[in-house]
C-alpha cells in the first residue's frame, strides 16, 4: 500500500540531503557550493540511500563507469519496485545500449534538425501572436511549455493538440510519481496505451514519422523490435523531449528578464547567441540523472556501496569552480564551455541537437518580437520540483 510520506525539512544537507526539499527547489546552487566545498560525494538515507556527487570530476567518473553505476534505474524514488517497464536506451547498459541508441541517432542529427527548424519557428510565432498585445504573460504556460511539446509531437507524428495530455503525464511521472507509486503507474500505463493505439493505427496506414521509423527498425538480431522496446522508447522520447527543453528555454528567459545588460547585448550582438545558449545550458542545466550502484567502488576518494542510488548531478558539475572559472557567474560569451548539461559518455542526450535548435529559435523569435521584458513584480516565479529544474510559472511584464 503506498502512502504519501510527509516531508521532513532538511536541516543537515551534508548528511541528509533531499532534492525534493523546498530549499533545493527554490535555490539549489548555494547548497551545492556548500557541499562541494566539504566533500565531492555526500550521502543521504532518504529515498532508500542516495549519493550526491557535486564536482565535475566525480560526475564524470560515475558517467564513464557503467559497470559500477548501472542505468537500469535512472529516477530516484522512495520505492524500488521490480523493473518492469524499461525505456531504452536510457535504461540500458552495455552491451545492449549501443544498438538501442543507434536506432534513435539518425532522426536527431543537426542535419535533421535543419529540416524541422521552420516548423519550430512557426510554432514560436503562433504562440507569441496569442499574447503579444497583453501587458503581462506567464511565459512558462503560454510559451516555453508548448514549443518542445509541439515539436516532439510533430516528429513523432502525434497530434500537437494532445500536448496538454503529454504535459500531465510528465508531471505525474517526474514530479508526483516520486512520492506516489500509484500515480506513476497509472500515467505510465496511459502513455503505453496511447502509443499502443498509435502503433495499431500505423499497421493499417503507415506514416513517415518517428513512430513508423521505430516500428520498421530491426534489432541486432535482424528482427523487428519487440513492442515493449518500441513503446518504451516512445515513452522516453515524449518524456525526455518536453520537460527538459521547456525548463531550459524558461530558465534562459528568466535570466534575460532579470539581466537587462545581457538582454540588450544579445539583441545588439546576435552572433553571440550560440555562446549564450551554451552558457545558459551550463548555468541552468535542467537535467539531473541517476544511477544504481551495483558494486563497491571509490569516487573521488569517497567509497560507494551497492544498494544505493546516485543522483548524477550534471547541474552541480556545471557549477564546479575547479572546472569553470567564475562558475557562479553567467558569462554569455563564454568561449571555453565544456559543460555536461547533456551528459558525458555513452548516454549523451540523443535530443541534444533538437534541444539546442529549440532554444535558439525560441530565444531568437522572442527577442525579435519582444525585446523589452522584465519579471512581473506582482507575480511569483515557481520552479519545478525534483530532477528536472525549470520555471513552471514565469510571470513577465511585456507591455
Amino acid at each position: 500500500m503506498n502512502e504519501h510520506v510527509k516531508h521532513v525539512p532538511v536541516t543537515d544537507w551534508f548528511n541528509d540531503f533531499d532534492h525534493t526539499d523546498p530549499q533545493w527547489t527554490e535555490d539549489p546552487f548555494p547548497i551545492w557550493d556548500e557541499l562541494r566545498g566539504k566533500c565531492p560525494v555526500v550521502h543521504t538515507d532518504r529515498f532508500l540511500g542516495v549519493y550526491l556527487p557535486t564536482t565535475y570530476e566525480a560526475v564524470k567518473q560515475i558517467s564513464y563507469d557503467t559497470e559500477t553505476f548501472s542505468s537500469r534505474r535512472v529516477v530516484v524514488r522512495n520505492v524500488r519496485p521490480e523493473i518492469t517497464s524499461p525505456t531504452p536506451p536510457i535504461t540500458t547498459d552495455p552491451p545492449y545500449h549501443k544498438p538501442a541508441k543507434q536506432l534513435l541517432l539518425p532522426p536527431f542529427t543537426p542535419q535533421a534538425m535543419k529540416k524541422l527548424e521552420p516548423r519550430v519557428r512557426a510554432i514560436c510565432n503562433e504562440l507569441i501572436d496569442e499574447f503579444i498585445k497583453d501587458r503581462t504573460v506567464d511565459a512558462a504556460a503560454a510559451y516555453t511549455k508548448h514549443i518542445p511539446t509541439r515539436a516532439i509531437a510533430h516528429m513523432l507524428g502525434i497530434p500537437e493538440k494532445d500536448g496538454d495530455l503529454f504535459v500531465k503525464w510528465i508531471h505525474q511521472i517526474l514530479e508526483l510519481g516520486i512520492h506516489n507509486d500509484a500515480i506513476l503507474m497509472q500515467a505510465a500505463q496511459e502513455m503505453s496505451l496511447y502509443f499502443f493505439e498509435q502503433i495499431e493505427q500505423r499497421k493499417k496506414h503507415p506514416t513517415d514519422d518517428l513512430i513508423s521509423d521505430l516500428m520498421n527498425a530491426k534489432g541486432p538480431d535482424g528482427q523487428p523490435l519487440p513492442d515493449p522496446h518500441v513503446i518504451g522508447s516512445l515513452r522516453l522520447l515524449l518524456i525526455a523531449g518536453i520537460d527538459t527543453t521547456w525548463s531550459a528555454i524558461g530558465s534562459s528567459l528568466w535570466h534575460l528578464a532579470r539581466t537587462p545588460t545581457d538582454r540588450k547585448r544579445l539583441i545588439a550582438e546576435p552572433h553571440i547567441l550560440p555562446f549564450a545558449i551554451e552558457e545558459f545550458l551550463r548555468a541552468y542545466a535542467p537535467v539531473t540523472m541517476a544511477r544504481e550502484v551495483m558494486k563497491e567502488g571509490v569516487v573521488a576518494g569517497c567509497p560507494v556501496k551497492p544498494g544505493n542510488m546516485v543522483l548524477l548531478s550534471f547541474p552541480a558539475a556545471n557549477r564546479d569552480p575547479a572546472m569553470f572559472p567564475d562558475a557562479g557567474k553567467v558569462i554569455i560569451d563564454r568561449k571555453e564551455n565544456r559543460h555536461a548539461a547533456f551528459g558525458l559518455g555513452i548516454h549523451r542526450c540523443v535530443g541534444s541537437n533538437l534541444a539546442r535548435m529549440e532554444m535558439t529559435v525560441a530565444l531568437e523569435e522572442w527577442l525579435k518580437r519582444i525585446p523589452e521584458f522584465s519579471l512581473d513584480p506582482a507575480g511569483t516565479v515557481t520552479w519545478s520540483e525534483g530532477t528536472v529544474r525549470g520555471p513552471r510559472q514565469l510571470p513577465l511584464l511585456i507591455g
Binding site: P110, Q111, E336
Partner: protein, 69 residues
C-alpha cells in the same frame, strides 16, 4: 612562422555532442549518427587555426586532438 596543425577526432571518445561542427563547420563532418570526424587528413588552414583550438576546448569528451607539426 608557426608550423601547420592537424586535427584528429578519436572515434572511440566522440559521443556526438557536435560542438565541434557548430564552432568549426569547415573542419569537421558528421556521419549519419551525428558522430564527428576531421575533414580530409585534418590539415587546418591558417585562417581556421583559432576555430580549431576553440573546437578542441569545447569538446566535452576531450575527443579532439591537435597535432602540431
Amino acid at each position: 612562422m608557426p608550423g601547420k596543425i592537424r586535427l584528429r577526432v578519436d572515434p572511440d571518445k566522440c559521443q556526438g555532442h557536435s560542438r565541434c561542427k557548430s564552432l568549426a563547420p569547415e573542419l569537421f563532418e558528421l556521419d549519419e549518427f551525428g558522430n564527428a570526424r576531421e575533414i580530409g587528413d585534418g590539415t587546418v588552414p591558417d585562417a581556421l587555426v583559432e576555430k580549431a583550438y576553440l573546437a578542441r576546448s569545447n569538446c566535452p569528451e576531450l575527443a579532439i586532438e591537435i597535432i602540431e607539426e
